[in-house]
Symmetry: C2
Subunit: 378 residues, 2 copies
């Protein structure tokens, strides 16, 4: 069997983190980066604008399968690629749901999957009605283009989103209102599926956010009972199969005090909630994504330790690249796995992460937080 050459559109940290497993396995990986000096520069074979069909097609001709670092490639481009016979994984019909949160909600509803109450909003009156029906508060989202807390607002009146209504056509033609869930914590279920239908899940994880950005991931999610684990895995499988996803799928969920799981967001690619798997699983999400989009059999997703904790390294200013504090962090925390993404420092930017394995998640969290703090402050 000829193993396909894999092309990744986008040169961010997710493409970068596909490089180590590609090198280890000996798979051919090409990256179409946005700029020179991208995070994934070591594997960049082309630089160009993924919004231009000819750029993407020229890149696609150099590989056997196209996959993604992000979900921003215009659907029309992906559909044209597929019409011309190129293999796009996940396919355009699946990515359509990742690119538009209204389409996603409608499809999840068809699949009878548990979600916060939601409504497609076209007018201020509709929004105010929804707010009134849900305790005077709502989560309002732009259906396209949002990530890491962008395109999401907590609102108490349609007036809080007057600017979005003014630009509603550019934002997707409608808005998505969701019930503000009184959750006890957030969970994420990582899974992978290849186009032959093989499916695998990792352990359910707990995720913690700061300002809408993932800050900590704990694997496995502490104190999750078997019913919750089974339910989360079944949700992931239903979505993956129901939406025709190939590659890694991350399902972010709320857990409520009465034990319900409500689907918050989806990502059809390796995801921040799965970075722990690089060090904490037999097969990482990045190796698995390569296997899945190449339609190879999936690897063992068992954990390599009782607990794994990942802490994100968000830029603290415009000069600290975190690497400069390696000496102290390595000396004080020899068990910490340090990851940086080769990015220029910028406040708030995802610059790297730290993963620590230990016998308990509390112990792992202590070390990971301490190591991250050394990298942040020196």
């Amino acid at each position: 069997m000829q193993i396909p050459r894999i092309g990744v559109i986008g040169g961010g940290q997710l493409a970068r983190m596909m490089v180590p497993p590609a090198v280890a396995l000996g798979l051919e990986l090409h990256v179409l980066a946005e700029t020179d000096g991208s995070s994934a520069a070591i594997a960049a074979t082309a630089v160009g604008d993924y919004n231009q069909f000819e750029v993407v097609r020229d890149f696609a001709k150099t590989v056997d399968v196209i996959t993604f670092d992000h979900e921003h490639v215009p659907l029309t481009i992906l559909e044209r690629l597929e019409a011309e016979g190129f293999s796009v994984q996940p396919p355009a019909k699946a990515l359509a749901f990742a690119q538009n949160k209204l389409h996603m909600r409608a499809r999840l509803a068809q699949l009878n999957l548990p979600m916060p109450a939601w409504r497609e909003i076209h007018t201020a009156a509709q929004l105010d009605e929804f707010i009134a029906q849900h305790g005077g508060v709502a989560i309002l989202k732009t259906p396209i283009g949002g990530y890491d807390g962008k395109g999401v607002r907590v609102i108490r009146s349609s007036g809080d989103a007057a600017d979005w209504f003014e630009n509603i056509e550019r934002l997707g033609g409608a808005l998505l209102a969701e019930e503000k869930v009184a959750f006890t914590r957030e969970l994420a279920q990582l899974s992978a599926r290849n186009s032959s239908g093989d499916f695998a899940t990792w352990s359910l994880v707990e995720t913690r956010q700061e300002n809408g950005v993932c800050s900590v991931v704990i694997s496995p999610a502490p104190n999750a009972n078997q019913t919750t684990l089974d339910h989360a895995a079944q949700i992931a499988r239903t979505i993956s199969e129901g939406l025709g996803v190939t590659g890694v799928l991350a399902v972010e969920m709320f857990e409520t005090s009465d034990g319900r799981l409500l689907i918050n967001e989806l990502a059809m690619r390796p995801h921040n909630s799965g970075h722990f798997s690089i060090d904490g699983s037999v097969t990482s999400q990045f190796e698995q994504h390569l296997r899945a989009v190449a339609n190879l059999p999936l690897g063992d997703t068992s954990s390599t330790a009782a607990a794994a904790v990942m802490v994100n390294l968000l830029g603290v200013d415009d000069s600290n690249d975190f690497v400069r504090h390696f000496d102290k962090a390595m000396r004080e925390h020899p068990s910490a796995k340090l990851h940086t993404y080769g990015k220029t420092a910028r406040s708030g930017r995802k610059m790297g992460h730290v993963t620590v394995l230990d016998q308990t998640s509390a112990a792992a969290l202590d070390v990971a937080q301490a190591a991250a703090e050394v990298l942040r402050r020196g």
Copy 2:
């Protein structure tokens, strides 16, 4: 602290396997490869002949520290680099012992380290005397240029090495005769040291050879008692400190039926006996080598599983690159970690390896051998 840019001379699989940890950490890695399309091509920033001083110096100017994929760079070149102020790790004075087995034996003798009986041989008469003193048989080695069973012969008379005596000047000016040890098994102690003097060992491993080439490594070495473990670690430390090694050091040893350890060979670089550590240790030998030559603190060398077994993939013919059998191997052995080196197939060539982690080394060996066999035969 500015983290040094690391330059590796040689584009083989050892340089290749430094790429994943360099990408993960975010360290800058440059490789001087012998040819285009080398195993480490993804990180190759220069292509040229490491026997030419100007080639090596031009490369050295692009990095902050020079290290190695192999031990074949002429010592005179390394000494000139050091004289011009370049940082070479391990330094030339240490590499001198790795490049010449007679110098190595003499230095280990000064350090009172346990070895097979040995003698520097200049004449056939000296060799025949040595053979007579050691049961009618000896291991004869060329002091320079040998590896993977090359430059090593079992002989029963000086006549068995007539061709080496004829070319003795080219082979190093003398030969090395060693007692043929009646060993029960072979062991290897992997360690690392940075120039600040930090030192770390991995678990002692058992190594099995076929035709002078490593075929299987079992970590930890089964049934090794604490005295043996302590002794092996102490041998590695004495050598590393005594010879001024920086970076990874592999010490290959014979274990005898009465529990003695006798030093066979040394390698001052990541080594085949340490490939298990990529998947089986918190810090792999490749990450540790980067840390050590950059004089960063060393990482935790703990095992990530009760047992790890590595099986080498030696080329079976001129067409099987092993990647072509990934589909079957991955389907039948989802827990096997498959590694290939991006090399053109050639019979006997080191093309890749498989590592399996399990609760027992017997279980891991079974799966690793089975997965390797699928990759060899399809």
